[in-house]
Amino acid sequence: MRTLALSDDILLNIEKPARYIGGEVNSVMKDKSEVNIRFAMCFPDVYEIGMSHLGIQILYDMFNRREDVWCERVYSPWTDLDKVMREQHIPLFALESQDPIKTFDFLGITIQYEMCYTNILQVLELSQIPMHAKERTEEDPIVIGGGPCAYNPEPLAEFFDLFYIGEGETVYDELLDLYKQCKKEKKSRLEFLEMAAGVEGIYVPQFYEASYEEDGTLRDFRAVNPHAPETVKKQVVMDVTDAVYPMSPVVPYIKATQDRVVLEIQRGCIRGCRFCQAGMLYRPTRERDVEELKRYAKTMLKNTGHEEISLSSLSSSDYSKLQELVTFLIEEYHGKGVNISLPSLRIDAFSLDVMSKVQDVKKSSLTFAPEAGSQRMRNVINKGLTEEDILTGAGEAFEGGWSKVKLYFMLGLPWEEEEDMKEIARLSDRVARRYYEIPKEQRHGKCQITASSSFFVPKPFTPFQWAPMCTAEEYVRRAAIVKHEFQEQLNRKSLKYNWHDAEVTVLEGVFARGDRRIGQVIEEAYRLGCLYDSWTETFDNEKWMQAFENTGIDPEFYTLRERETSELLPWDFIEIGVTKKFLEREWQRAKDGVVTPNCREGCSGCGVATFGGGVCYESKN
């Protein structure tokens, strides 16, 4: 039986001790004396969130297929345990072996959102690993980062030895082989990092230097180590069907956010919404083979015992074999105690038909993401959804028995005017009006239209990477305009409006497009006690503002400025395949309010065709 890193006394006095004990069904145990490389895979948030992430499950499975590697998991201890570990100097440990992370070869951290940055520092500090890469010795694990936020790694540059840019399935094997060889030949940490810099997709931040203009913008960014390449290329799996997929994902004891089998049906998105980073990063769109997916569904349900299966992709309706797959799942599992959950479906006759089969129409709600209230703004952001689409879809849904609709919007988009904001309320009202067109005796009481708005955050590698943001006060003012307009609507009693926190948005904006200097702010905020910033109960904006003041860094430099297209951006050294020229062209088209067709309607020459596959070559086969 395994010995736990924490005593019964600690475990029985903290919330949800199951977060820290490991030993879940399908977790992998190995004999540590028989492996060459020990890899700790970390999601820097609480267990229930981290366990819900598909990417880690894929890498966990892939690494553990290798006999010479034992990959284990580690998550952020919740604040209650964090305190105990600090008081008692208990080093952070991996769930499987319960061994301290500091004894591992690698600590891999997936960076999924900006507001987890202080948790990364917590994981390093609790692991007793020096926070800065430059202070680490031969004894310390190699700290490697990956995930969407690694596409602008600069704010975190000081804390990582390596970043992996792109999809993990491609060059990790090469990197691990290289490490094994270096370990065998007793090569130094520096020698390994230099060799790793030669692996495509690997970025070693300490081998690069940035210099700045007087106005604060980047003057120059270049490699200062002969082994480091000038640009780092994103890694993509071109054959997603043959790529590894975890047939036996770990099944947590406690309820994780994603307590179900997740079937990734495709990667990438054909749509090209101009605000969407994932839509650009994961180009080209690549579909998995439908027969293979059916097989996966069966095997994974059997191996996990989950009672629900969900499809995952950026836009499931664009999967060409969706109808076949969903029909299969319904025929195979409906009524047998397996729920089928279908997120991100475009509302049309087909999706309403399948949803009415798998959901309780009276209880469930339908979701539309118009993203902007006015057609003008939807053209600016290239959201190919018209008001007619929304009203027709909602109408069919209402006639099919639904009465609850959720609408998602963004506020603070580039060139947004007061009229565009007010259209959010008016569009919501028009959806409600469509409901009340149904004869009274045929409808089920009142309808409930819930509109939510988040504030727009410009992200690197999108056409909006040059766009200015607003101040927190301005965001709140805009939300108030929308709120007020809702109160003016005919069906206001059927409408509800929520909006996100503006202060968190501003911080996200700073980190998303931040440069190396932002690292000090993150460190200072962490020193001041910031942790779990993505959790409303722990987020403390005052401490963050204090951190900016203490470090003399002006957050508004990063948010309020409209960047010139000629400006050198901190992430320009990374090549994602989509060219800067294309993004610039899209930025101009956005200004002109011109819509760009999606990848299936016509190629717009974004540049990813160089990867040689996916949607770019669909019609050419």
């Binding site: 001790p17 199951a18 004891y253 406690i254 309820k255 059997k302």
Partner: protein, 241 residues
Amino acid sequence: MKVRIKFRKYGVLKFIGHLDVMRFFQKMMRRAEIPIAFTGGYSPHMIMSFASPLGIGLTSDGEYVDIELTELIDSETAVRRMNAVTAEGIEILSFRQISEEKKATGMAIVAAADYLVSVRKGTMPDQWKEQFTEFLSQKEIRIVKQTKRSEQEVDIRPWIYQAEIRGEQIYLHLAAGSVQNLKPDLVMEAFCKFCGIQEETVVFSYHRLEMYAESSENKAESAERFVTLESLGEEICSEKC
């Protein structure tokens, strides 16, 4: 057809609470492909009822869950299949057919449970064994029992059916179930108070040994007053299937 599953909960699984054990069993049933029956409706759920929830921190050699099957499966196969897909910390001990009567399921018939109590932290006073005998010889043991709404002073002595010292451990046989339910920590709390041990200077760990129902045969004769829940079921042999 109704079936009673007996299982052991040990090791690190003591940190998993009752609701999560229920979820664990639901998923295990699917992994082991046990032909369990579901309720009807939009979100069908497994017909499954646990005899008595075990709190976080407790281990047990005698836990029970009753389920309903849609088709016959023999005990040996079922136990083997479940143990093949369980996690370290839950072991299936038996799988037995029980009466179809509605009131025969675990939850309704539990009448007693027994426990082994050990000291997990701190030390007991030198004279504790003598004191324990004295403690038990009291006619009444009054404690304040807290319910969700109020505090109430009750006498727990009648619900302690048997108690004895076994080496350095204490054996307790207590009333359990829906009529009277006495948790072992309440007994130990009362004992500590009786000895004058300050609160939280000694911490105990509790291990449930078995759960019992009232014997239906002869209620008056105390010797056979209780029978194990397991003994109320019958092995399903492969010939039957």
